[in-house]
Amino acid sequence: MTPRLRATAIIERNVLAYRRMLAPFLTGFLEPLLYLGSIGIGVGALVGGVEVDGRTVPYEVFVAPGLFVVAAMNGAIMDTTFGFFVKFKYGKTYDAILVTPLGVRDVAVGEVSWAVIRGGIYATVFLLAMLALGLIESAWAVLALPVAMLVAFAFAGAGLAASTFMRSFVDFDFINLAMVPLFLFSATFFPLDRYPDWLARVISVTPLYQGVALSRAVVLGDVHLGLLAHAAYLLVMGAVGVRIAGRRLGILLQP
């Protein structure tokens, strides 16, 4: 078996497992969609328009690309954080996997690939909802799906790496503590210019903001070369995460 093919065994395992847990899988994309209804459309009616790059767009058009990457991020971290930890600590799934020809790198690559697939599925559903609601302004939106996969890759890698340092479920509070501010303050719900300058600069280097900026640019059609910096950020974040996760899994699973 080539290394690449080995990692696909992890994906296959997860597909088989979720065929018996369809409800948790199918409802996973709902939360960002419900936020789109409540904050995007409900509160959006109170807001009116938002100015983006010199033109005014309806508030729900502004919010949708932000929640779109949130859908991808959620799909990616479900299995690489809590899901990983349950399998690692209680299910002893990885101990069983390492008895087969698969190695720890295959586990890291396989789990992250699966998370990207799951994030991509949720993002696709969200994108179709945006299309149905008329919230897509540009043909560049065909690039939204690759953007979502990049976001999923970045958060899956980082999430898996972080989870290998967790001692117990209590430590996952730190992950929640990081996710809530990222969700609320990455220009998801209101633009960067609503913040004081110094805070806007801090936010412009946080991870989810890169995805929000990319996705908003392609959905609204403000595409330019500077966007490649955001993409590079996410790519590096995911790759570093996978490397750390692979090394940590080696320490944890092969004493």
Binding site: L30, Y35, G42, V43, L177
Partner: protein, 259 residues
């Protein structure tokens, strides 16, 4: 054991556990709603207030959303505490079985769970309200009455949700309960925007949302704008839900723990 002292023993146990494991619960029940208050109330609220064409009964958006987040976070804490911890008590750690092996009975377990949820949400709700007052989200001196409104809503949720949870054989359905039940309630019960904006078919349904009754009561308190008749109706609805939930939970806990 007589109902009241048995309930107190269960509450005491929960408080002792909480003293060891307070960090996560405090993040969930205090830090998260304060972050939402900053993001939605101040960040997004600034855009609502600048927008002009709003219909929030003369309130700033921060003033509108503060009571919503107060009661909604109490509801989320109550729901979360009534799902996985109940399964742990019944099946994973069997603490409930340990309890009913003492002079406590299943109704003490239910009463203790609901009472402890009420105490926790009273603590976190008071802290949240104090922060919101400093930020300018609380215009009325009646505001402290919003805390009992949140507590009543949380108690009703704790009774109803734990009654459901104790009858389950695994936690497989719990994520679905959160995603199809708790999150829609959180987002569409007048928390973030007035229910009058809901589609015509959906608006009447809010009367079955405990959160809507709680939010209306709490908003009446923090803004000082609530008619007596309305207030009584919301309290009556919540008390009825609490009573029904408690009865249902007592029956289901008894069946699971003392069969």
């Amino acid at each position: 054991m007589t109902g009241r002292s048995g309930l107190v023993r269960v509450v005491e146990r929960e408080a002792r556990v909480f003293r060891q494991l307070w960090r996560g619960p405090v993040i969930l029940s205090f830090v998260t709603p304060v972050l939402f208050l900053a993001g939605m109330g101040i960040g997004l609220g600034g855009m609502v207030d600048d927008g002009g064409d709003r219909d929030l009964g003369g309130l700033d958006y921060l003033e509108f959303v503060t009571p919503g987040l107060l009661v909604a976070s109490a509801m989320q804490v109550a729901a979360g505490e009534s799902l996985w911890p109940v399964m742990a008590g019944k099946k994973w750690m069997k603490t409930y079985h340990a309890m009913v092996a003492t002079p406590l009975d299943a109704s003490d377990v239910v009463g203790g769970h609901v009472a402890w949820t009420a105490i926790r949400t009273a603590m976190s709700g008071s802290a949240f309200l104090a922060v919101a007052a400093v930020l300018g989200g609380v215009p009325s001196a009646w505001a402290p009455l919003a805390v009992p409104a949140a507590v009543l809503c949380a108690a009703a949720i704790a009774a109803l949700v734990s009654a459901f949870a104790v009858g389950q054989e695994s936690d497989l359905a719990f994520t679905t309960v959160m995603r199809l039940g708790v999150i829609p309630l959180f987002l569409f019960s007048g928390t973030f925007f007035p229910v009058a904006q809901l589609p015509d078919g959906l608006e009447p349904l809010v009367v079955i949302s405990p959160l809507w009754h709680g939010v209306e009561l709490a908003r009446g308190a923090t803004t000082g704008q609530l008619g007596l008749g309305e207030g009584v109706a919301h309290v009556a609805a919540l008390v009825a839900m609490l009573w029904l939930g408690w009865r249902w939970a007592a029956r289901r806990f008894t069946r699971e723990l003392q069969a």
